[in-house]
């Protein structure tokens, strides 16, 4: 004897399908590196951060702009190191054991960036990345166009492509 499905069975099946639909539209996330400079919180997409390095001795290079702190040796490769604070017009905190160098690659260029402290690396839902008010020159240059919320933290997101391009052209 073949029994037709009961109303309850149909409802259960529909709910199961519904749950699957919800699971399939899970929000996309972006890995972000959160850090501080001069008491302000910033974030950079993890995709452009190759490595987070403990602060180390930076060898001075003559003939460079003041924002270029020098070079470091990263396992046999020589990398430039730039003060992110100087590029953003901020004052960095005194060196501490939290001071770090973000080894970043964007727009075909690679460099270390000094920051006061790395405070988190987290997967952030796309909805937590929102346009920031257009109030600064950095915004106009496409460098700081979004804000990122991570729990109670609100960070200004830094786009490295225009930052590196502007630095290479002598605009910062």
């Amino acid at each position: 004897m073949s029994a037709s499905p009961s109303i309850l069975d149909t409802i259960i099946e529909q709910r199961q399908l519904g749950d699957k639909d919800i699971a399939q539209v899970d929000e996309q996330t972006t890995r972000m590196v959160f850090f501080t400079i001069g008491g302000q919180i910033f974030a950079i997409k993890g995709a452009v951060i190759r490595e987070i390095l403990a602060y180390c001795d930076i060898a001075y290079m003559p003939g460079c702009p003041s924002a270029m702190k020098g070079v470091i040796n990263v396992r046999g490769d020589i990398e430039s190191v730039i003060s992110l604070a100087a590029l953003l017009g901020l004052t960095e905190a005194p060196l501490s054991r939290k001071s770090s160098i973000l080894l970043a690659e964007a727009g075909g260029m690679r460099s270390g960036l000094t920051v006061d402290a790395v405070i988190d690396v987290a997967e952030i839902p796309e909805s937590a990345i929102q346009p920031a008010p257009c109030t600064t020159a950095n915004h106009q240059q496409g460098i700081m166009t979004h804000a990122v919320t991570n729990g109670t933290l609100v960070a200004t997101m830094i786009e490295l492509d225009p930052l590196f391009q502007n630095f290479a052209r002598g605009l910062t």
Binding site: M61, P62, G63, M68, V71, I78, G108, M109, R110, S111
Partner: protein, 116 residues
């Protein structure tokens, strides 16, 4: 195609805290300190150190140019594998065209220079 050598003969010298090297084939003479010779520190936008000084005569496209450098002035071989091109962002903003490459060995950073 010529095989790349494993090392380059270089002359090493200092200006302040920075160690420099130039290909030995570009050095025509090392002389005692003389007056009216320009300081290599000026070319490199550096403040001269307090070490004893020497004069290096260097071959360039425009002839021989002499500069005051600081001791120790030494000859030695630099492993080709330790020589690196300038990092891209640094090269883009570098004001001193005589700086051509960098090397890192057990003595730390060496700035490789060439006059032509």
């Amino acid at each position: 195609m010529t095989a790349q050598p494993a090392s380059l003969a270089m002359v090493f010298f200092r200006v302040g805290d920075v160690r420099f090297a130039i290909e030995a084939s570009a050095v025509t003479a090392m002389l005692p300190m003389q007056p009216d010779i320009p300081a290599f520190a000026t070319v490199m936008e550096l403040t001269p150190g307090s070490a004893p000084r020497r004069v290096l005569s260097l071959r360039s496209a425009g002839g021989v140019q002499s500069y005051v450098v600081e001791e120790p002035v030494e000859t030695g071989d630099l492993a080709v594998q330790s020589i690196h091109p300038l990092p891209g962002l640094l090269a883009a903003r570098l004001r001193i065209p005589q700086i051509r490459a960098l090397a890192w060995d057990d003595q730390g950073l060496t700035v490789l220079v060439a006059l032509s």
